[in-house]
């Protein structure tokens, strides 16, 4: 990415401005929010292909019945690592990268509030993931007990378990520091005159996400530390033989884990709430209710955790409580979907690539949300639980959900980042191919799940063979079509039609008032807030 430093310096006269440091050290020592955002986004893209490669190993084994590609133990490692990489290495860093790039510009701030902390929170991650992935090459193998790491199974892992816990701790520290930075930036760095209820939706959703992270990551850290001491220091937190309880781990884990799934989707809600109004050339419908709905979802996410545990033998009262609270979540989520549709209603829509991905998001996220509503019905959940129906559900909200929002955001803001328009024709092709394959991949999983195929198995009965084969075709199609995404990004960085500052006809918000590409330093003098620079 090149920044026109000469023009920038001239523009600001005799101020002593720094452009980026020369050479590779720029990226190591940078405290610039745009550089760090870029680092996060590249990291996420690389991990996307690593996690995707693991998914393809899983799907290759499931191409046909019988064990033919990998040992079942390695298969379990792949399902475990695929989840860890995709959650902690792809979706979360991508959202943090987008936050780094966009939140200061959306707020009219010169940078993040804590720039050195920002550098540190990024640079922990590559090391943490190197440690995590290196366990796959150790004698005792990678973690194979599922990303949820339920004891006692996970305690059967060899000594490489210590590395897994160590890596998780570092990822957690990185996330918490990043979140503190985002909260500090939002509360302290807004342009004068911008009230909380004037903030762009992406900022709002990230503010709430950051609080969820700060509240839950320490809980997760506590849970995995207890695993560590159970495994290596003779404690019995989760072992009945020593007076502990393995199910207690699940309660602690999901107290983190359920807010975590909203951490993976709330920033996506924010992104979509920018893109739909832009390409509908119409303001977001129901800004206030969008903010309240996001906050309600965040609150409810803390009191629904045990819906992941309906088969663990909870008391009836617990099952009823968690069924009702889980059903409640569909109300604010529904409000968001209805608001998006109303935003499009009677707009003047065009369908550039970001809009296609955003519409794809709304449709397929809603499909995932509806299967989520089915899962909330506890008696039915007892049949759905731990089958491919659940796999279909969460992949619908995560792949054509969270991942689509990240792709939409990339197409939406990449002209601002690089100063060039991406190849629109290729972008649209990328959308259509991805959308077809992602449905070929995940829709059949509903059927095999309902028909009785459990998840996390390397081999299955013959009646599931056809659908699994189709899902595998979808997986390879979807996986390889993402190479197009990389190609489009490179092409856009290298050149293309020059982008204007506004980029999109219907664009509103402070980030569109600066040049494209955005200068290395933006908003060193606070902007004036006018109705046209407020997104709501």
């Amino acid at each position: 990415m090149s920044y026109s430093d000469a023009g920038h310096d001239a523009h600001h006269g005799d101020h002593d401005h720094h452009g980026p440091a020369p050479g590779l050290m720029r990226w190591v020592t940078t405290t610039n929010h745009k550089d760090i955002g870029t680092l996060y986004l590249w990291f996420s893209l690389i991990m996307f292909f690593i996690g995707g490669g693991m998914a393809l190993i899983i799907r290759a084994e499931l191409w046909s019945p019988g064990i033919s590609v990998v040992d079942p133990m390695f298969f379990n490692s792949m399902t475990t690592m695929h989840a860890i990489v995709m959650i902690f290495g792809v979706v979360m860093p991508a959202f943090v990268g987008l936050a780094n790039w966009m939140i200061p510009m959306m707020l009219g701030a010169p940078d993040m509030a804590l720039p050195r902390l920002n550098n540190w929170s990024f640079w922990i991650m590559p090391f943490a993931f190197t440690i995590m992935l290196s366990t796959l090459f150790m004698d005792s193998g990678g973690p194979a007990g599922g990303w949820t790491m339920y004891p006692p199974l996970v305690l059967q892992m060899g000594d490489s378990f210590a590395f897994v816990i160590f890596a998780i701790h570092f990822l957690g520290i990185s996330s918490v520091m990043g979140s503190i930075n985002i909260v500090a930036t939002i509360f302290n760095m807004r342009a004068p005159g911008m009230t909380l209820m004037q903030m762009p939706m992406f900022v709002w959703t990230w503010l709430i996400t950051a609080f969820l992270l700060i509240a839950t990551i320490p809980v997760f850290a506590g849970a995995v530390t207890m695993l560590l001491t159970d495994r290596f220091f003779e404690t019995s937190f989760f072992s009945a033989a020593g007076g502990g309880d393995p199910v207690m781990y699940q309660h602690i884990f999901w107290f983190f884990g359920h807010p975590e799934v909203y951490i993976l989707i709330l920033p996506a809600f924010g992104i979509i709430s920018h893109i739909l109004p832009t390409f509908s050339r119409k303001q977001l419908f129901g800004y206030d209710s969008m903010v309240y709905a996001t906050a309600s979802i965040a609150f409810l996410s803390f009191i629904v955790w045990a819906h992941h545990m309906f088969t663990t033998g909870m008391p009836l009262a617990g099952e009823l409580f968690f069924m009702f609270s889980t059903m409640m979540i569909s109300v604010p989520t529904g409000v968001k979907v209805f608001n998006w549709v109303s935003t499009m209603w009677r707009g003047s829509m065009t369908f550039e690539t970001p809009m296609l991905f955003a519409i794809g998001f709304v449709i397929m996220f809603t499909i995932g949300g509806l299967s989520g509503l089915m899962l909330a019905i506890t008696p039915a959940d007892i049949q759905y639980h731990d089958t491919y129906f659940v796999v279909a559900h969460f992949h619908y909200v995560l792949v054509p959900g969270a991942i689509y929002s990240i792709m939409a955001a990339t197409y939406f803001w990449i002209p601002k980042w690089t100063g060039n328009m991406y190849d629109e024709k290729l972008g649209k092709l990328h959308f259509w191919i991805s959308t077809i394959f992602v449905n070929v991949l995940f829709f059949p999983m509903h059927f095999v799940g309902l028909a009785g195929m459990p998840r996390r198995i390397p081999d299955y009965s013959l009646q599931f063979a056809d659908w699994n084969m189709i899902a595998t075709i979808g997986a390879f199609g979807f996986g390889f079509s993402q190479l197009m995404f990389v190609y489009i990004i490179f092409k856009c960085i290298k050149g293309g039609e020059k982008a204007t500052g506004e980029v999109w006809e219907g664009a509103r918000g402070l980030e569109w008032t600066v040049d494209s590409p955005a200068p290395y330093h933006t908003f060193e003098e606070s902007p004036t807030i006018t109705p046209s620079t407020i997104t709501r």
Partner: protein, 399 residues
């Protein structure tokens, strides 16, 4: 141009998918209705919420696609200026709430019924092991293990070359010894596990409950029709999680009573076997079978294990060393590893046979034997000396 792209994508997709569609035998696409009153009610809830979701989806997507086709700039649409309405916000908060309450009431009713374990007529304790189930008929004093059928177990090994179609739909859903239960009786299942968490699922009975080591969960079913009902373990439990099926034979009461008598006779016959002296050849031959069913998954066909994960039997210090250490390892397992305590899984003959086999196979050439009666007296001693083993057999694998 846009439609050009779409057309090519559709053609590509059709080329990829249509051939397999044409060849496919679709099998079941939906949840089974099952054979109990509860399972039919669960199915009813599933279909009700499914149709509700379909209606909501049709409405939302209908409005959205209408908007996409009508309100596009290329059609000359001019953006309207509205961006909030408290009235509609309240409407689309209240309406879903009403639908949810309408759904929550019948769901709660079924759930309360599922959790009502009273008035059960018989109890079966189901214990999960890596990777088999133990069934104990608490009223009949019958107990046995049930695991993946040996033929399926052979076929599912890496590159076995087996023709899986010979097994039909029941590939990986066949066991060596099924659970046999009477129809028309409220059966209470007690679930627990000896090593890691498992989950016992039979879709046709709509029962799925986790088996937590050290704890006991309850569950019940009243099967209405005789038949064979199959399920699987649904909680990830290690390497062979995909290979621990559940098979339930539901039979009429008379047939069940007859089966109980047969089981008692068989158990008595087995007990006698461990009292006589066995030859080394007999033990090795029996031990090879036991090894194939119990040890091979981790320690491998050639006894070499998997370096770093599962230790080798060939040349192992434990196997080639003092016999009492070897016996203790097999009986008691090794804490914090997948090596579970086989003392509670295998009978005296099989224990003696597999230990003898390991000491005389894979190049291990100790030449000694362990006799079934030795195992019998050893285990009796253990039972008396250790208070942690005697009650439920459940804590020893995890301590």
């Amino acid at each position: 141009m846009r439609f050009g792209i779409i057309r090519w994508v559709l053609i590509g997709l059709a080329a990829a998918v249509i051939p397999s569609v044409a060849m496919a035998d679709w099998g079941a696409l939906n949840m089974t209705e099952g054979v109990t009153e509860v399972s039919r009610q669960v199915y009813g809830l599933h279909m009700a919420i499914f149709y509700i979701c379909c209606i909501i989806g049709a409405l939302v997507f209908g409005v959205m696609f209408y908007s996409i086709f009508k309100h596009r700039k290329s059609q000359g649409a001019v953006a309207a200026d509205f961006h909030e309405s408290t009235t509609v916000e309240i409407v689309w908060t209240i309406v879903p709430l009403v639908i949810l309450i309408a759904m929550a009431i019948p769901a709660a009713r079924v759930l309360i019924k599922m959790e009502d374990f009273s008035d059960s007529e018989m109890s079966i304790k189901v214990t999960g092991y890596q990777w088999r189930w133990q069934y104990e008929y608490l009223d009949e004093d019958i107990s046995f293990y049930s695991q993946l059928h040996p033929e399926h177990n052979a076929a599912r090994q890496m590159d076995s070359g087996a023709d899986l179609s010979q097994f039909g739909e029941n590939y990986l859903l066949e066991v060596d010894k099924p659970l046999v239960v009477p129809v028309g009786k409220k059966i209470r299942f007690l679930h627990t596990a000896a090593d890691v968490i498992h989950s016992w699922w039979v879709p046709a009975l709509s029962v799925k409950k986790d088996a937590n080591p050290g704890f006991i969960n309850e569950n019940w079913a009243l099967i209405e029709e005789p038949g064979i009902y199959r399920g699987k373990c649904t909680e990830l439990c290690g390497r062979d999680h995909g290979f621990m099926p559940v098979v339930v034979h539901a039979v009429p009461q008379e047939e069940y009573d007859q089966w109980v008598v047969e089981q008692r006779e068989q158990m008595a016959a087995n007990a006698n076997k461990s009292d006589r002296q066995w030859s080394k050849e007999e033990l090795v031959a029996q031990g090879e079978k036991v090894y194939g069913a119990n040890c091979l998954g981790c320690h491998q066909v050639d006894g070499q294990g998997i370096p770093g994960m599962f230790p080798a039997i060939a040349g192992s210090n434990i196997v080639t060393g003092d016999v009492s250490t070897h016996v203790q390892t097999v009986l008691m397992g090794v804490a914090n590893t997948p090596m579970s305590a086989f003392g509670s899984k295998l009978n005296d003959v099989d224990l003696a046979a597999v230990i003898t086999y390991q000491r005389n196979a894979f190049g291990n050439d100790l030449g000694d034997t362990v006799q079934p009666y030795q195992m019998k007296s050893l285990r009796q001693g253990l039972m008396q000396s250790s208070a942690t083993i005697n009650q439920f057999d459940i804590t020893e694998g995890v301590n």
